[in-house]
Assembly symmetry: C2
Homo-oligomer: 240 residues x 2
DNA sequence: GCGCACTACGTACGCTGTACGTAACTAGGA
DNA sequence: TCCTAGTTACGTACAGCGTACGTAGTGCGC
């Protein structure tokens, strides 16, 4: 009996190919790719063991030969798209490199809108996550600070990016599981908001929504927040 | 026929009591409280329509008289605990007030560990969320800045708090749905991490984990990040 | 070449959200 | 005042989920 993990197991520590039986029909990468394909097309909730198996053309339960739990499938997915992170020779300007890293992460999350929901520090040590972290640290090589501080910077940056993209995608991703359109939902919510504000109980909120700053440039908002966070760590181009 | 929402509907716009039929057995607050109780005790995944109904002592489908979709139950929950936010007379020192707000939010999230997962800008305009936002804006009354900037500050602050608490709770909340303990899982993951680092492919990661900064004080880390974010908006006690 | 670990996968269980139908109830209009 | 239409309550049912378990069949290590 294979004793399907009564004890914790990191999927990455498990060898792709066991010694004994018939050779596996897929590689882990195939499975991850199939799951990513489904999530990209139909949202994270479309990723079920049955769907992934169908996408691969195998029986549902066969997947459990590769992935002990669905949770591990998620971990495979996150690692797979983490592999899309490009790396480059550190430019010497760590601030510029960090901005580039952040933009790249944001692009990645827009390409795979389910990614923010799966972002977890627990997945932070998959093979591709390690490569990514090492690259970030390399970009910070010239900075005089402890690795602890550098890790905190990278963590905060990642967090802020995740947060912003989550907000950027919130209504769009939400409308995927709703029986009506995003615009309809927004209209109804804004109508309610208007009625509440008109009540006079929230004068400052009312003023805020009267301001009408014109169309919001999400890219600019993101860049501004990113800049502020970096400023917080290095106020005037000094070290951390 | 009641035509159970073929068109979007904000739950807050629906009256608690309809004119016609028998008087409802519960108020929305009862249902929210029951769901919160279950989530506090058994995690968010324990919140199913059947469980909530059982907690209330009514049939499962009766809930759908109060809540058109499960999603709306979540919205009720977030609003309910948002009501736990205390308010106070703005002190005049907006930075101190913002720190207090952030600490309060963090405490709230530790009391209701499922809250970060449900944090969504979509729920940002429930009654208690409006009260909360209005209070934040009131604390910023003396600051010379547009309401847009103020909203951005509040948003960024909330986001950073959410992010930090998510990380603080990640392993604990995760272990709730796992058949083994948090410590076991951590041990296995650290063992894997060690083996990878020992391979020599990630020299900086290796150095980072050699550093051993001693026990981490989560409160201090949180306060530091919070301070940096506030510094980013108001470098030296100036206005925004 | 034997045995056993492994792959493949069908069946089945308990759980989920919720569509639908029915019975009891009550407020508004005649 | 009675009638009726809209609401509440809730049992049943269905499609889908993760996954435990059992059974074949395959091919490496001894």
């Amino acid at each position: 009996m294979a004793d399907r993990a009564a004890v914790p197991e990191v999927i990455w520590a498990r060898p792709e190919r066991a010694g004994r039986g018939p050779k596996p029909a897929f590689r882990r990468a195939d499975i991850a790719a199939a799951a990513v394909r489904i999530a990209d097309g139909g949202g994270l909730d479309a990723v079920s063991m049955r769907h992934v198996a169908a996408e691969l053309g195998c029986g549902t339960m066969s997947l459990y030969n590769y992935v002990p739990r669905k949770e591990d499938l998620y971990e495979l997915m996150v690692d797979a798209v983490s592999g899309e992170h490009e790396e480059w020779e550190p430019s010497g300007d760590w601030r510029a490199d960090m901005v580039r890293v952040a933009h790249q992460t944001r692009t990645l999350m827009h390409r795979h809108p389910w990614l923010p929901r799966l972002m977890s520090p627990v997945y932070g040590f998959s093979p591709n996550a390690l490569r990514y972290l090492e690259h970030c640290l390399a970009c910070l090589d010239g900075v005089e600070a402890s690795y602890g501080t550098k890790m905190q910077l990278v963590g905060l940056l990642n967090g802020v990016v995740t947060m912003y993209v989550t907000n950027e995608l919130a209504t769009a991703e939400r409308s995927r599981s709703l029986p009506w359109s995003e615009e309809q939902e927004n209209a109804v919510r804004i109508a309610y908001l208007g009625s509440q504000i008109a009540g006079g109980a929230y004068p400052r909120m009312a003023a805020a929504f009267m301001e009408d700053p014109g169309p919001i440039d999400l890219d600019a908002v993101f860049d501004m927040a990113l800049g502020k966070v970096l400023d917080a760590f290095a106020p005037r181009g000094a070290g951390l």
